[in-house]
Each structure stands twice: as structure tokens, then as C-alpha cells.
């Protein structure tokens, strides 16, 4: 059991996460965009479009305009998520000594790391809680919510709560042990899971999240870019430049030969122009 959960599951989960997500994105990208879906105004040049996209991604400006409170929670959540992901990589790899790299003392680095992790964890839990409440109590959002919306929020909440639980005395996971375990995984030489029950649950839930991610609404993170890229396309210019390639086969598709159009003859002439 321990072998399956500790040594096989992470590989399976990670592969599903990566491959599944890529497949979904590739699946989208293979479909043509038959028409310009530009949502105006759009910046004049590519650099402007990229800047807009990045600003929107980093600041979630559309929500900010319409619903400040939602924006607050959404933004807090995503920022804390970013902090936590980075914190995990650095904190585990450097055993909380990462801030000594910028000249702080070992103890200060330790304290700062713990503090930042705690704050980010609290922020995440709080914002997830708020988002859950919003789903439960706002009439419109509640109507829009399906069981899996709740499931995703609760799963994330459970992950952040078990993460925070490891701060409690007695439930503490030994960082060097965790590091050794992760190193084993990464070097394809897995060792048994560290013996800490919050860590065990936390780790299992993260695996579950990875397994579930490509099939879930959490894929909105990728949809953001795929969709916004369509809306930010530069509008067409006329006469159409010679170099332009057909957007899809729709432009050359023959449709309804039986549509009664007295112009059919002229139609053919124009087609050969």
C-alpha cells in the first residue's frame, strides 16, 4: 500500500496532470478560428497585446471593474497560490535556508520562511473560504454552481488546511525527510513516505488534484490564454493581402447548392475572379 501511494501514485498523477493538460490545450489549438473574434478595443501592435494580456493575467482587471469583492478574493487566492508553490520548491530544497542567499542569517531565514508560508497559507484558506461562501450564499453564483464547483473548492481547502496543520506541534513533518522523499521521486529512486499523518493526507490530496486537474474547470488557467488570444487578434485589413492563408476550410466550402439565389451565375463569375 505504502509503495503504491508513496512511490507509484505521484508518477501516475504527475503524468496525468501534464499529459492531460497538454492534450486539452493541443485539442483546442488544432481547431481553426474561422472568423476574427476581436473584442475591441485592441492595442495596435503585438507588444501592446502581450502587455494587455499579462496585465489582465496578473491583475484580473476585468473582474476588478465589475465586482471588487470577488476580485479581492480571486486575486488573494491566486497570489497566495503562487507564493505557496514557490515557497514549497525553495523551502524544501533549501530547508528554509533560502533567504541566507540574500544575506540573512540562518535563523532569520528560518523564521521568515515559516512566517511567509504561514501567511500565504492563511491567505489561501481565507480566500477559498470566502469563495466557497460566495458560492453558497450569493443567489446568482449559487445557481451557477454544480457539485464539482464545490468539490474543487473543498479539495483546495483541504489541501491548504492540511498544509497549515503541519505547523502545529506534534503534527510537524520533518523537513529533511520530506526533502529526501521528494529528491527520491525526482531522481526516479523513490524512498518511502515520511511518517507524518498531515503530510500523508496533504500529499495524497495534492496527487488527487493533479489527477483531476486536466478534466476539471481548473483548466481555466489554460483557457484564459487560448481564449484571450482569439479576442486580441488584430482586425483584418482590406483588400486582403496576398500572403494571407485561409483561416479555415469554411471560406472555400460549398454550401447549399439549392439556396435559391438568382445570382448563382454571377456567383460563379465572382468566384473565379
Amino acid at each position: 500500500m505504502g509503495i503504491i501511494l508513496g512511490m507509484a501514485l505521484p508518477y501516475v498523477a504527475f503524468s496525468v496532470f501534464v499529459v492531460g493538460t497538454l492534450l486539452r490545450i493541443v485539442g483546442w489549438m488544432r481547431i481553426p478560428v474561422p472568423f476574427h473574434l476581436t473584442l475591441f478595443p485592441v492595442p495596435e501592435d503585438k507588444a501592446g497585446s502581450v502587455r494587455e494580456l499579462v496585465l489582465e493575467f496578473v491583475l484580473c482587471r476585468s473582474i476588478y471593474r465589475e465586482d471588487r469583492l470577488l476580485w479581492l478574493w480571486v486575486w488573494l487566492f491566486h497570489v497566495s497560490l503562487l507564493m505557496i508553490v514557490c515557497g514549497h520548491v525553495l523551502g524544501i530544497y533549501f530547508l528554509r535556508q533560502q533567504f541566507t542567499l540574500v544575506g540573512l542569517s540562518s535563523e532569520t531565514s528560518q523564521t521568515l520562511s515559516v512566517l511567509l508560508g504561514g501567511v500565504a497559507g492563511a491567505m489561501m484558506t481565507l480566500s477559498l473560504g470566502a469563495l466557497l461562501c460566495r458560492r453558497l450564499f450569493r443567489r446568482e453564483v449559487r445557481g451557477l454552481s454544480e457539485p464539482d464547483h464545490y468539490f474543487e473548492l473543498i479539495l483546495l481547502l483541504a489541501i491548504s488546511v492540511t498544509g497549515i496543520a503541519m505547523y502545529l506541534p506534534g503534527l510537524h513533518a520533518e523537513l529533511p525527510e520530506v526533502r529526501a522523499y521528494m529528491a527520491g521521486l525526482l531522481l526516479l529512486d523513490p524512498v518511502p513516505l515520511p511518517r507524518s499523518s498531515p503530510f500523508f493526507v496533504h500529499f495524497l490530496l495534492v496527487n488527487l488534484l493533479m489527477l483531476y486537474f486536466p478534466f476539471s474547470r481548473l483548466l481555466h488557467s489554460a483557457g484564459f490564454f487560448v481564449n484571450r488570444a482569439m479576442l486580441a487578434e488584430a482586425p483584418p485589413v482590406y483588400p486582403t493581402p496576398d500572403r494571407s492563408r485561409p483561416r479555415s476550410d469554411f471560406s472555400s466550402r460549398k454550401i447549399h447548392p439549392d439556396i435559391p439565389c438568382p445570382m448563382n451565375v454571377a456567383d460563379k463569375e465572382a468566384g473565379s475572379k
Partner: protein
């Protein structure tokens, strides 16, 4: 909420090339069409699959604000299609079913699509406020195309599409009637200005093919006369075409095949009169269809293409305009503001034509739809359209007293008078931007004895 929309009869559908689907095959055919659409346009699956149900779009939609019907929330509206899509086309929906919001195709499915896809003006305002830019209007147009292919389309739209395909204009008028109406308008122009201002039809070897809304021959004729005065003043070589006397393209709003077919007429008509440049008149969705869809629908478009308001703006320094002594505002048609990026031009023109130009809030790309967009102009929908226009009416009320609302779109021109009357503001006049250009353009003699707004708005 059920809507009183009248659907087209089978015979009529066949005329536009649709073979209605038998009751027993509805489910399988719907799924087939959804599959086809998914493979056809990226937007369909990306937009359906990316929604997180965050609800940020709810307050952005005038349709929801006006009707207070849950399924008019953009995400809920799209959800009617999404749940079927999930069930048959996504991994999670197939495996988890209800849990991930998927639902089987059922007897009520198509009815719900009709009811809610036709309470959407395809105004794209929701896309502005959705963090991912999900454009429910786009999903709705896809859904409407699928419904049409199944044999469910509004009688009103099918009738217009038939006119477009057979006569080249929405009203279905033929060449003799077109020539008649144009000479009538020429007489009016003569009476008003004392000048021989022509409205040429099918004039060969012309530089510019002008495509007004065909409604301007009868109801919004001030717009067409404004264009005629302008071309006259500038000495432009222009003509109308009896092959295509229409800026609109209803196909965009309910059937992409009709859109493609009708769009192709722009080439045919421009070739026929030997034009180098196609200039579009005041029509919101028509301008979006022409500008944004021509290339995608029929490949490279070998003519210049521009909007009359862009042309006016370019030539503003050449125009002798007197400012009319009125207080006026501008309503940004959704298909200009968000759909085609025609925003500053009408403003520059307004500033040049009226003394007191005032903006409504929100405006430009955040403007609310008037409730007339998306082809919902059928009589039976009037009552619902008034609800859809509620937000707009409140915007207008905040600007009172007001003499004139400029509406550079034929659908807005049809919706506004009803809306204003319904909300007790019937005294405010409406019309195009070109109408104002026509009135403030100093053609030959001084027209400045007019002092009251009534005078300069023509009674």
C-alpha cells in the same frame, strides 16, 4: 421564461436551404451538429469549457438586469448548451455526469435553447467583464446556427434571410421599386436644398459602392439622404446596387451558411459596378459581419472596405458644417464599440455637428445594448425587448432633457423609438449620425435661419 417567438414553417426553411429534422432524429442530429461546430470553431469548446461559474458576467448583461430571469445570466444561458456539451463531448461529463454539471439531451433541451438564445442580443458585453473573456454572444450565435440546422429558426429571420438571398436586401424590394424610391428621395432633396442631388443605382464604373440599410429607403430615409448630400458635397463617384442594397447580414445572427452566401454578394455587387471601394452604411451587425467576417467567410476580399463614418471623419476638414443648436448624445452600437472598433469616429462627427454633445455612462466598449440587437426586432418580441432595454432607458433618463439620440445602426433605430415611448421619454428624437451630417452640412445657401431644435431636426 417562455418567449412568444414565432418559428418558421418547414416550407419557409426549405427556401433558405434548411431541411427540418424529424422528431425522432432530433437528439442524434443535435449531437452531430454540436460535434461539427466543435471541430469548426475553436471558440465553441474553449468558451464552453473555460467558464468557472464565477458569476462576474451576471451584472454585465442587460438581458439579465432587465428580465431578472436566472437563465439570462450569460453563464447560465451558455450553460444550457454547456450541460449537453459536457455530457457528450468532455471526459469529465461522460464519466462524472451530473456531478460535473452534465445533462442528457431531453425533450425540453431545444425549447430552452430557443427561449434563452433569443433573449440575448449577442452584444458581447459579458465578454468584457468575464475574467477569461468568454463571449456568451458567440456561444449563442453558435447555438442559434445549430437550432436553425435542426429546423428551429424565427419566422422573422428566415423571411429576412430569404429576401437577402433572393433580392439582396432585407425588405425584399426589386430594382424597379428601388429606382422609384431613390427618385422620390432625390425629389425630396431637391425640395429641401434646391440642388440636384443624385442617388444613383447600378451606375457602371463607379469608384464607390455604398451599402446602406435597405430600411433607409422607407423609414430612416434621412440617413440615406445625409449620405447623398455628403457624397454630393465631396463630389464622390458613388452608386447603390440593386444586387445588394443592404448593409445587414442576418445570416450572422442565426445561420452561418446564409451569412456566407449573403456576404459573397459584396464581391458580386462591387464587381458588377466596377467599384474599388465598398463603403458600408449605418448598420451595427452588418458592419461587424463585413469587416470581421468577410475574409473568414469567403476568402480574400479584393476591395477596399470602409465605413461611412470613417469616411466622414477622414474628410471632416473638407466639410463646411454648422453646429446644430441641440443637446444630443450618442449610443454606441455594440457591434461598433465591441464588435468592430468604430468608436471615436462618430464622436468626432457629433462634436462637429451639434452644439451640446453629451456622453452617456457607461459608453464606448462598455455601453449597454439597447435591446434591439442580435436580430430580435420581431413584433412578437416587443414586450421582451422593452425589458431588455430597461438598462438603456435608465442611462438615457439620466441625460434628460435631451433633443436627439444619435444611433448609427438600423436595429437601434428600430428599437429606440419604442423604448423611449415605453419608458415615457417619447419626446426625445432619434436617428442616425449621418442624418446630423446631412442637416449641418452647408451645401449652397445659408441654412442658418433655423434656431430651435425642432427646426433643425425637421419638425
Amino acid at each position: 421564461m417562455k418567449i412568444p417567438l414565432r418559428l418558421a414553417k418547414r416550407e419557409d426553411l426549405r427556401i433558405i436551404g434548411v431541411e427540418p429534422v424529424a422528431e425522432a432524429e432530433l437528439c442524434s442530429r443535435t449531437l452531430e451538429l454540436m460535434g461539427e461546430f466543435r471541430a469548426f470553431a475553436r471558440s465553441f469548446s474553449v468558451m464552453l469549457e473555460t467558464c468557472t461559474g464565477c458569476g462576474a458576467c451576471a451584472k454585465a448583461c442587460h438581458s439579465y438586469l432587465g428580465t431578472d430571469d436566472f437563465f439570462n445570466i450569460p453563464a447560465a444561458r451558455a450553460g444550457l448548451l454547456r450541460r449537453i456539451f459536457s455530457r457528450y463531448f468532455t471526459w469529465s461529463g461522460r464519466v462524472l455526469g451530473r456531478f460535473s454539471g452534465a445533462a442528457e439531451f431531453g425533450p425540453g433541451t431545444l425549447d430552452s435553447w430557443v427561449d434563452y438564445f433569443y433573449q440575448c442580443n449577442a452584444c458581447r458585453r459579458c465578454a468584457k467583464f468575464c475574467p477569461f473573456g468568454i463571449d456568451t454572444g458567440e456561444i449563442v450565435l453558435a447555438g442559434r446556427t445549430i437550432l436553425t440546422r435542426l429546423g428551429r429558426a424565427p419566422a422573422f429571420m428566415v423571411n429576412i434571410a430569404r429576401n437577402e438571398l433572393t433580392t439582396g436586401n432585407n425588405t425584399g424590394i426589386l430594382k424597379p421599386a428601388i429606382i422609384d424610391s431613390c427618385s422620390f428621395l432625390e425629389e425630396e432633396l431637391l425640395e429641401e436644398t434646391g440642388l440636384e442631388i443624385r442617388i444613383p443605382v447600378d451606375k457602371p464604373n463607379t469608384e464607390i459602392l455604398y451599402l446602406p440599410s435597405s430600411s433607409e429607403l422607407f423609414v430612416n430615409s434621412d440617413t440615406l439622404m445625409g449620405a447623398a448630400k455628403l457624397f454630393h458635397y465631396l463630389g464622390v463617384d458613388w452608386t447603390l446596387s440593386s444586387t445588394l442594397l443592404e448593409a445587414a447580414n442576418y445570416g450572422l445572427l442565426f445561420d452561418l451558411d446564409v451569412m456566407k452566401k449573403h456576404n459573397n454578394r459584396m464581391r458580386i455587387a462591387a464587381t458588377a459596378v466596377g467599384a474599388e471601394k465598398v463603403v458600408m452604411g449605418e448598420c451595427g451587425h452588418g458592419w461587424r459581419a463585413a469587416k470581421m467576417y468577410s475574409e473568414g467567410a469567403n476568402g480574400p476580399f479584393p476591395f477596399q472596405l470602409t465605413h461611412i463614418l470613417e469616411l466622414v471623419t477622414e474628410r471632416l476638414p473638407d466639410l463646411n458644417l454648422t453646429k446644430l443648436p441641440i443637446r444630443a448624445t450618442l449610443h454606441d452600437p455594440c457591434n461598433y464599440g465591441r464588435g468592430a472598433g468604430l468608436v471615436e469616429e462618430p464622436r468626432k462627427i457629433m462634436h462637429a455637428c451639434v452644439e451640446d454633445f453629451t456622453e452617456m455612462t457607461p459608453n464606448r466598449d462598455r455601453n449597454f445594448c439597447c435591446g434591439g440587437g442580435g436580430g430580435l426586432l420581431m413584433d412578437e418580441m416587443t414586450e421582451i425587448r422593452m425589458e431588455l432595454g430597461k438598462e438603456k432607458s435608465e442611462q438615457i433618463r439620466r441625460l434628460l432633457p435631451l433633443d436627439y439620440i444619435a444611433l448609427p445602426c438600423a436595429s437601434c433605430k428600430a428599437q429606440f423609438p419604442l423604448l423611449l415611448k415605453h419608458y415615457g421619454m417619447g419626446e426625445v428624437r432619434t436617428g442616425g449620425v449621418l442624418d446630423l451630417v446631412g442637416r449641418s452640412l452647408v451645401l449652397n445657401r445659408q441654412q442658418d435661419e433655423r434656431t430651435s431644435p425642432q427646426d433643425c431636426l425637421g419638425g
